[in-house]
């Protein structure tokens, strides 16, 4: 089982670099999600890996094989990969069994009977036994999706590519299929690249997440790492909701903003530098001024501007005293404060993440 290595890939459309000097290593058997907003280059990256596009510079290696380099691209049919498309791309004129069995036609070592057997087995794995003779048009969206999954897995590819495979499903089914795809990945352990713009999907499905911005990898890491330790402002804002406070570093672990000071967990800032601090809404505790507080926590005085009851939680907008800064705070709904109440916010310095500004494009 080989891994995939993308080395300094660049691909332009006209003057725009859709993929810009992108590097990424996927370990054997690992599932990496390419996560980013539309236009970040994730689908282009996937099509480069599949061999539908040629890179202008950089290389793609699978194990010991260099599959793509400028001017030398192994065609898709010789890459031993499989791909699941956003539209599923099922062939409407072929039955479910013919769709699933299509890739096996190109394995000369399998005779007809062996192919039929493999198809039947795979249909059982995706719980579609009994649908073999149907046409795709006669299936529901979720079933079509399973056919697409079966068609890709049955050929036992070295690399599996998925391009937003769940985006056409309704919300409930999508959640169910996340677990299903994860289950299949654990069963087959195929090295997988998974393109999505849905951070929850990426977090459930993948071993690691590569957050893409402007055709580059902004950060790679486990769901924990990219959520808890975002490295750039873009990553912090894209993964989950967050508050960003702009300020100036006074000491390696201290940021000043609007006359207030904030202790920042990791430290290591250059005094005098402009920084942004990310604080997740649920990392902020709200208390009335005379509550007791955890020792060592940052405390900020403020006033509740808006309080929204969300059933299982409260969502506050709190203006920090003597500043224009308004922080979103999420707390349990057990204690409900009202708009206009003066409060004290307390924040663990470890939850305050100092961020580098995103890299300038171009």
């Amino acid at each position: 089982m080989p891994g995939v290595s993308l080395r300094a890939l660049t691909r332009r459309y006209g003057d725009v670099a859709a993929v810009d000097d992108l590097s990424l290593d996927v370990k054997p058997g690992e599932l990496v999600a390419l996560l980013g907003p539309s236009g970040c280059g994730k689908t282009t990256t996937l099509r480069l890996v599949a061999g539908f596009l040629a890179p202008e510079s950089g290389e793609i290696w699978v194990g010991e094989r260099c599959l793509s380099a400028p001017g030398r691209v192994v065609p898709p049919e010789q890459r031993r990969m499989a791909m699941i498309f956003q539209s599923y791309a099922l062939w409407p004129h072929l039955t479910v069994a013919q769709n699933v069995g299509y890739g096996l036609r190109f394995k000369p070592e399998l005779n007809r009977a062996a192919r039929d057997l493999r198809v039947a087995e795979m249909l059982r794995v995706v719980q579609l036994d009994g649908f073999a003779a149907r046409y795709p048009g006669e299936l529901s969206g979720g079933q079509q999706q399973r056919v697409a999954v079966a068609r890709a897995l049955v050929v036992e590819p070295e690399i599996l590519l998925l391009d937003e495979p769940l985006s056409n499903l309704d919300a409930n089914l999508r959640e169910e299929m996340r677990f299903e795809i994860r289950r299949l990945h654990e069963k087959f352990a195929i090295t997988t690249l998974y393109v999505t713009h849905d951070q929850a999907e990426a977090m459930v499905i993948s071993d690691r997440i590569a957050v893409l911005e402007g055709g580059r990898v902004a950060q790679v890491g486990s769901a924990d790492e990219v959520f808890l330790q975002p490295r750039t402002r873009f990553v912090a804002e894209f993964i989950g909701r967050t508050n960003l406070i702009e300020g100036v570093a006074m000491e390696p672990d201290r940021v000043a903003f609007g006359g207030l000071r904030l202790r920042v967990g990791a430290g290591g800032m250059t005094p005098g530098a402009r920084v942004a601090v990310s604080i997740r809404p649920h990392d902020i505790a709200v208390g009335v001024p005379d509550d007791t507080r955890a020792p060592g926590a940052n405390t900020l005085p403020g006033v509740i501007q808006r309080a929204s009851f969300l059933g299982d939680s409260m969502d506050y907008q709190v203006r920090v005293a003597d500043t224009d800064v308004v922080l979103r705070v999420a707390t349990a709904a057990t204690r409900r404060l009202r708009a206009g109440e003066p409060v004290t916010l307390s924040i663990d310095p470890a939850a305050c993440i100092a961020l580098a500004a995103s890299k300038e494009r171009g």
Partner: protein, 564 residues
């Protein structure tokens, strides 16, 4: 795993030479004749000259023919709007009874060869023996005919009857795409029904209206048959009949080439205007769904409106078809259809006694099948190449394939005549030159159909097969071809219909050994054999309708457009 990277070079598609050849052939078919045409129009003994153009500009007869064409086209354009637009609105937007029937009849008018209609109208409204005039004289006792089809207004009328479907198609398809929600949005803001029509519907339909006008004008510009049948006896020429006349002995090819240029340029210009119009503001894209649409109630105008539609159809279909049938079955077409006048002699005369017919039918079918088959495969490859961007300059492929649309049949014939009567390619006098003419002329229609077909097949369906191990050609066979099949059959049928009715290029390119049906019909006119004309016309109509039925089956909808 090292070294197991097969075919770096195989990744240069093996299919590439195929694409390259098709594109080259296209350049060759188009560029050579048109190059010769331009060259001939400025060619002189001592190099390039404008002498031929100067002669055109100084020849009052040629200028008159040009002017007649302008008059004819303009009035046909206007009249087509006057007929086609109300018909389109009535069938698309109102509770008119028998809408399906009207639509079918418009389709029938659309596929009727215009020169057959012209013949029929000679029998209906000729000043002396025309049936309508005979009837008029019988009823009123008047000495003068009611109508005379051998006049400019007569010509405009007859041409319009087979040209208004172009306007109809443009308007009906546009109306079908404008959801009535857009009109309702205006209504809810307080606009009355007239205000809605004036401020919303009309502006949205306006580009289609103008574009339908342009299409109708283009048809009239390029038409040869109807003016030849109606204008020549009346003693005037249009540009197309004039070009044809210049080819009569002794041929004045240079002059014909020079007269062709204004026709070519006018066509190109009008198409450019039309493209601009449709391209702007994205009207055509109006709403994907088209929305729910309530039919406008006509109230007490319902039946009068239907009567009006049927009156148009009587002029376009019922009367002409009727008189053709009558002529085919009677000894003397102008006499009443009594038992003694009834005969099948016209059929035996046409098929067995008249020398040219059998060969012409065989030639027509042979050319039809050959052109349609090679054409359909060709346009399929071309549109595939263009849609999947397989070669650099794929935009040029689409442009070239659609380019012949600017070449009127007569002009194309002049160009081909010049190009292929001399080495290195002497095709004149063979069926091959007709084949080249038909292929070039019908390419745009076939290409448009084929392009729509491939647009409807998402590239992912092919990508999905590639990544599973199938090469491009294999995918073409396993996935693309089966999915494109019905679209390609439709393209075949469109080309076939175009070929079997083709007259304007054939009339210049035929030789006694290579006559086709339309040319024989034209010859029969010279001999006054109306019975035989009717028989051949009916054969042509039957072939056409059978092919149309095949298209409708293949596409699962009628050929007039995107509805249903």
């Amino acid at each position: 795993m090292a070294g197991a990277a097969p075919g770096w070079r195989a990744s240069m598609d093996r299919a590439l030479p195929v694409w390259a050849a098709v594109v080259l052939a296209l350049v060759f078919l188009m560029a050579l004749p048109l190059g010769w045409l331009v060259w001939m129009s400025v060619g002189g003994a001592a190099g390039a000259t404008l002498a031929h153009y100067a002669r055109v500009a100084q020849d009052p007869a040629l200028l008159k023919a040009l002017w007649n064409t302008v008059v004819l086209s303009f009035w046909v354009g206007l009249a087509s709007i006057a007929v086609g637009a109300p018909l389109a609105w009535l069938t698309a937007r109102t509770d008119l009874p028998a809408k399906g029937l009207i639509r079918s009849l418009v389709l029938a008018s659309f596929v009727t060869p215009p020169f057959l209609g012209a013949f029929a109208w000679v029998m209906l409204a000729g000043p002396n023996a025309g049936l309508l005039n005979v009837l008029w004289r019988d009823v009123t006792g008047a000495a003068d005919p009611l109508v005379n089809v051998f006049t400019m207004p007569g010509l405009v009328f007859v041409v319009t009857m087979y040209t208004f479907p172009y306007v109809y198609i443009m308007i009906a398809n546009t109306l079908a795409l404008i959801g009535s929600d857009l009109e309702e949005a205006a209504a809810i803001l307080g606009a009355g029904r007239l205000a809605v029509a004036r401020t919303v519907t009309l502006p949205m339909v306006a580009p289609a209206l103008v574009s339908g006008f342009i299409l109708a004008v283009l048809q009239a510009l390029a038409l040869f048959g109807s003016p030849a049948i109606l204008a020549l006896p009346a003693g005037f020429h249009t540009i197309t009949t004039q070009i044809w006349a210049l080819f009569q002995y002794p041929p004045k090819v240079e002059l014909a080439a020079a007269v062709s240029m204004p026709l070519l340029l006018a066509t190109a210009l009008l198409l450019l205007v039309q493209k601009r119009l449709l391209g702007r503001r994205g009207y055509a894209a109006v709403g994907g769904k088209g929305g729910q649409r309530g039919a406008v109630p006509l109230g007490r105008w319902r039946w009068p409106a239907l009567l009006g539609c049927l009156a148009v159809m009587a002029a376009a279909i019922f009367l002409p078809y009727g008189v053709l049938a009558k002529a085919a079955l009677s000894r003397a077409w102008a006499q009443p259809l009594t038992w003694s006048n009834l005969t099948l002699a016209n059929f035996s005369f046409t098929f067995f006694e008249y020398g040219a017919t059998q060969a012409a039918i065989v030639n027509t079918l042979e050319l039809g099948v050959m052109t349609a088959t090679i054409g359909a495969v060709g346009v399929a490859l071309l549109s595939y190449v263009a849609n999947r961007r397989l070669v650099p300059g794929h935009q040029l492929v689409a442009f070239l394939a659609l380019a012949p649309i600017v070449i009127p049949g007569v002009v194309l014939a002049v160009a081909l005549f010049i190009a292929y009567t001399r080495p290195p390619f002497v095709l004149y006098g063979t069926l091959a030159i007709l084949f080249v003419a038909y292929l070039t002329k019908e390419m745009p229609v076939g290409y448009a159909q084929s392009d729509a077909t491939f647009r409807a097949i998402p590239p992912e369906l092919e990508d999905a097969g590639r990544i599973l191990g199938a090469g491009r050609l294999r995918i073409l066979r396993d996935v693309t071809a089966p999915l494109a099949r019905s679209g390609i059959i439709a393209a075949w049928c469109f080309i076939f219909i175009g070929v079997i009715r083709e007259l304007s290029a054939s009339i210049i390119l035929f030789t006694p050994a290579t006559k086709v049906m339309s040319v024989v019909i034209f010859d029969l006119k010279e001999e006054g054999q109306f019975g035989a004309i009717a028989v051949l016309g009916i054969v042509m109509l039957l072939l056409t309708f059978a092919t149309v039925a095949l298209v409708q089956r293949a596409l699962g909808r009628d050929v007039l457009g995107a509805r249903e």
